[in-house]
Amino acid sequence: MIDISPSVMQFLLAFVVVGPLLGAAAALLPAPPGLKGKSPDQAVRRHAVTVTGAVLAAAVVLALGFDHHQPSRMQATTDIPWIPALDVRIHLGIDGISLPLVVLTALLTFLCALHSYFSPPPGPSPKAFTALLLVLEAGTLASFAVLDLLLFFLAFEMVLIPMYFLIARWGGAGRRAAAWRFILYTLLGSVVMLLGLLLIGLRAGTFDMVALATDNGRSLTVSVQVIAVLAIGIGLAVKTPMWPLHSWLPDAHTAAPTVGSVLLAGVLLKMGTYGFVRIVLPIAPDGMRVFAPYLAALAVIGIVYGSLACLSLARTGAGGDLKRLIAYSSVGHMGFVLLGIATMTPTGVNGALFANIAHGLITGLLFFLVGAVKERYGSADLDTLAGAAGAALYGRAPRLGGLFAFAAVASLGLPGLAGFWGEMLALFGAFQPAEGLSRPAFLTFTAVGAFGTLLTAAYLLVVVRRLCMGGEPAALAQETYRETAGGPAPASDAAAGRDPAPRRAPVFAPLADIRPYEAAAWAPLAALTVLAGLWPAVLLGLTDPAVQQLLAGGNQ
């Protein structure tokens, strides 16, 4: 949009990747005089906001300077040799596929830093928290910006240690086991992925993603491609996560601190799907064609499974944790992304990339909101919160309740909000899959996936009803709950509870509504959700040319 010289763009992209790392190192040092702030803790938390803010600013300038007329061209590229022995080059660049993800990552990390500035997660030193957050940001941004297979692997691995410590040190109940499960699962996946990457690199003679994508798998035999796609696919599928490799995700989300959940769902999961689009589709198309029906089948199983798990968690008396519920909903949403990728059509892949961003915005917002609810109530357990009558957020904290309902409705894919387009396009792509893929099979997947959207709507509406509606003081709600525990009709509970309580003030226990800093952290996500929903061309205009080119034979 604005004209920025290539060398500045180059610097900006390098800064976006390296800046957080330098910031992480600086966070461990004592604050310089003049920047000491009120206390060392406050100074280091402010440092986090400053660094992530600078990275976000750089990312936004990068987006502005990006040549929107040629989104399929790699821009802001840097290409310098690093380890000639392994043919590893520091090759950075962004195109229409990676640019939105880079901006999303920078934005979400900044919002997380802002959020934890005002509401630091309980746990040990904020110094380490800041350093880990910044390393996490660097790893995520690097994995979207690098164009070398081994460098991608390095970036992919870089997020493991920070995320492990974020969960294990600042998490909630059961955090240690959850952190172990997270890191062991993803590491096993990514080491297997390394084998696939090495196979491709050694057989094709280069690790450069651009060269490999341009080659479009022509220098790789089908059997090599099949093995490579299997190995890489497992690594990426663990990260995404794809059913049945998802079982680390609910625990990790439940145990992670709010900020950890937001980043995990918002950006870390995207590394898996991004890898599918950037590496698997263009570099090994023949191998992908073999596995596409299986990937699609597992994806729709994930959609239905995630929704059913959420439905069962949302039931009265199920003891469902809200964070766990949203984690399972992520399994479902990422199922749509995988389904879109598995169609191997521009429509499907565009839908997948759109759903990726939408999920980052909406689920990020949902995790923020659930974190806020947990902070206010001291629990994220739906039964404790809502009892049988409902938590009545509309009444007790109308803005919080309203925003939660908004996020939930966006998540279920209401047209006009961001959640709609991605899932629609993914299903649309599955209706007419790429040549060589079985159409009847994909028609079945489309039907099952469409049924999944209904289930998604069902559980999200149940959650909204239980969390936002209701009309009882907590004490009475508890009693009603005890009488009808396990009762079949929660709706009648709410109705039964309404009569005996006259409208007396204060009917509802006082509850803090959205605080200013919360509004600042959440507003951008809500605004972007509306923007992407009403004007999808902003994103699709970026991704579509790049996707067309990737599927047809690489980028230039």
Binding site: I83, L198, G201
Partner: protein
């Protein structure tokens, strides 16, 4: 004996040729091991004349000698020197200083130098009223063993190889058992000695078989003669190849020849354990590489799969055992490093196995990996030595709260452990593993790569568990944790029986160092108050700087993986 006569015969053959009887020796080429050996003798003699209070000088002399030996590598860096060649055939030499030799010699001398820095405090008299290790003997033995190990990669005939192997091993037995009056130390030395001597005997037998078949001791000669061996000698040749390899597999501590490692490491003085884990390992894999890749390429279809299976077993056994180390058991830190070194030996063997399929170029990955491993493992041992100064039980639990007491040391330790695990920010560990993986994938050993992948995950578990301990809040002084000294404690396979007397010895040990072991938690954590001795600090700084530099620019050692070293 067989090899001795064989060597005499070989010499006689050479001498019988109608040529110049007096060989010129390229002293520059042989300088690195010769300097180490000369300084060893010098130190031994000087020990007689130096008054006890100035014995510290001996240690510095040894360190200077090792540094000089490393400097002597500089003029050789072209990698084209060789000496002790046959007068009849100048291309067949007994001593070759090619790039493989230089890389291993650099590793060995550097490793010995760091070990020497670690040892300075151990040999210092008067610590805790204990006499310390006897300085003169200690330095002599360390330098002799180093000289032998430095000679090993250069040797290109079986006799020199076996002599170098013995020069490297014999002082090591004594080093392990050097702590006087310590039952654990004596037992470890005996175990090490018996199993090592058996292996050497087996190697000698194998070497004699090979000599009988080929009629030459030079590795290149064997490589040429083996394919043309007469049919009736085929069994003898195969047996000879197998037996020779077995001996070196023992030195590498490959499964099933690994059982001596944990007890030996745990019983030996800490610097000696560090030395064995790095330099001792180099002895094994260089011998294996020379014999397998240089001498027996004709039998690649035999030793290739065998080594691949051995590598898989070794890494799995080592990692599984390391996984089972209880953090609160005495010496668990050393035991964990010992078992993890068995696991790492498995990774080192992978490229050697791959060389059977893709040629000698794959060996570079082993060298690159070994260099990385040497730096970070010695770094980890340095930190263990540092922590052991205030908490001598050497338990992993003793590392709890290290970050609060010494942030720099804790960060360095975390970095070393993550390098060993192969995860960012330990970038060099990651890329060293990548080269090993790529050697396996390139050779078509996909199954081995997959097993290694699982092992990397196993390894991560215990390395990261240790890393997490470093950053936990310090244990409250009021709740002393009991040391598990029960004989039926959570033992690990082979070492369970040996551990019981080991712990008994700990509890009843008369000397002052270990008497505090049963109740280390009751002593207040005064880590931050205790000053770090200069040599330990120097070792820590050296290893940290090396590891960080390598992580920033991995090409420094990965360059070995990219070219042929022979």
């Amino acid at each position: 004996m067989t090899a001795a006569t064989a060597a005499a015969q070989a010499v006689a053959n050479a001498a019988a040729a109608p040529a110049d009887l007096v060989q010129t020796v390229d002293w520059t080429a042989v300088a690195p091991p010769v300097i180490a050996a000369a300084v060893a003798l010098l130190v031994l003699v000087a020990d007689l004349f130096v008054p006890p209070e100035r014995r510290r000088l001996l240690g510095w002399a040894a360190i200077a000698g090792l540094a000089a030996a490393m400097l002597a590598l500089l003029p050789l860096r072209a990698g084209d020197r060789s000496t002790f060649c046959l007068t009849t055939d100048p291309a067949t030499c007994s001593y070759t200083a090619d790039h493989f030799t230089l890389a291993v010699q650099f590793l060995v001398l550097g490793g010995a130098l760091l070990t020497a820095l670690l040892s300075l405090t151990e040999t210092a008299p008067g610590r805790r009223g204990e006499s310390g290790l006897p300085a003169g003997e200690y330095w002599f033995l360390l330098l002799s063993s180093t000289a032998g190990t430095a000679l090993l990669p250069a040797s290109r005939d079986l006799a020199t190889l076996v002599v170098a192997l013995e020069v490297a091993s014999l002082p090591a037995f004594a080093l392990v058992g050097l702590r006087r009056g310590d039952r654990l130390s004596g037992e470890a030395a005996l175990k090490f000695f018996l199993s090592s001597v058996t292996a050497t005997a087996v190697t000698l037998l194998g070497a004699s078989f090979v000599y009988a078949v080929t009629g030459t001791l030079h590795l290149t000669g064997i490589a040429e003669a083996l394919p043309d061996a007469p049919d009736q000698l085929a069994t003898l040749a195969t047996a000879g190849v197998a037996l020779t390899l077995v001996g070196f597999a023992f030195k590498t501590a490959a499964v099933p020849f690994h059982f001596w490692v944990p007890d030996t490491y745990a019983g030996a003085p800490l610097p000696v354990a560090a030395y064995l884990s790095v330099v001792g390992k180099a002895v094994g894999f260089t011998g294996l590489v020379l014999v397998a890749v240089v001498a027996f390429p004709a039998y690649a279809d035999v030793w290739g799969p065998a080594l691949a299976v051995l590598a898989a077993l070794t890494m799995t056994a080592g990692n599984l055992a390391a996984l089972r180390q209880s953090a609160t058991r005495a010496l668990s830190a050393v035991r964990l490093l010992a078992w993890s070194s068995v696991g790492q030996a498995g990774y080192l063997l992978v490229p050697v196995a791959a060389a059977a399929y893709t040629g000698a170029a794959a060996i570079g990955s082993t060298i690159a990996y070994a260099l990385m491993y040497a730096v970070v493992n010695l770094g980890a041992f340095t930190v263990v030595a540092l922590v052991a100064r205030t908490r001598p039980a050497k338990r992993i639990a003793d590392f709890r709260g290290l970050y609060a007491a010494r942030p720099g040391t804790a960060l360095a330790m975390a970095f070393f452990l993550l390098c060993l695990a192969g995860l960012p920010p330990g970038i060099i560990g990651l890329f060293a593993k990548v080269t090993v993986f790529s050697a396996a994938v390139d050779a078509g050993l996909g199954w081995l790569a997959a097993i290694m992948a699982v092992n990397v995950v196993l390894g991560l578990y215990y390395y990261l568990r240790w890393t997490a301990v470093l950053f936990r809040a310090p244990a409250p002084a009021a709740s002393p944790e009991p040391v598990l000294a029960t004989p039926a404690g959570p033992g690990n396979g082979a070492s369970a029986t040996a551990a019981a007397p080991g712990n008994g010895a700990l509890a009843t040990a008369g000397n002052g160092t270990l008497a505090t072991a049963p109740a280390p938690a009751s002593t207040p954590p005064k880590d931050s108050a205790a000053p770090v001795p200069l040599p330990l600090a120097a070792a820590l700084v050296l290893t940290t700087v090396a590891a960080v530099a390598l992580s920033g620019y991995p090409q420094l050692i990965l360059t070995f993986a990219a070219r042929s070293l022979f």
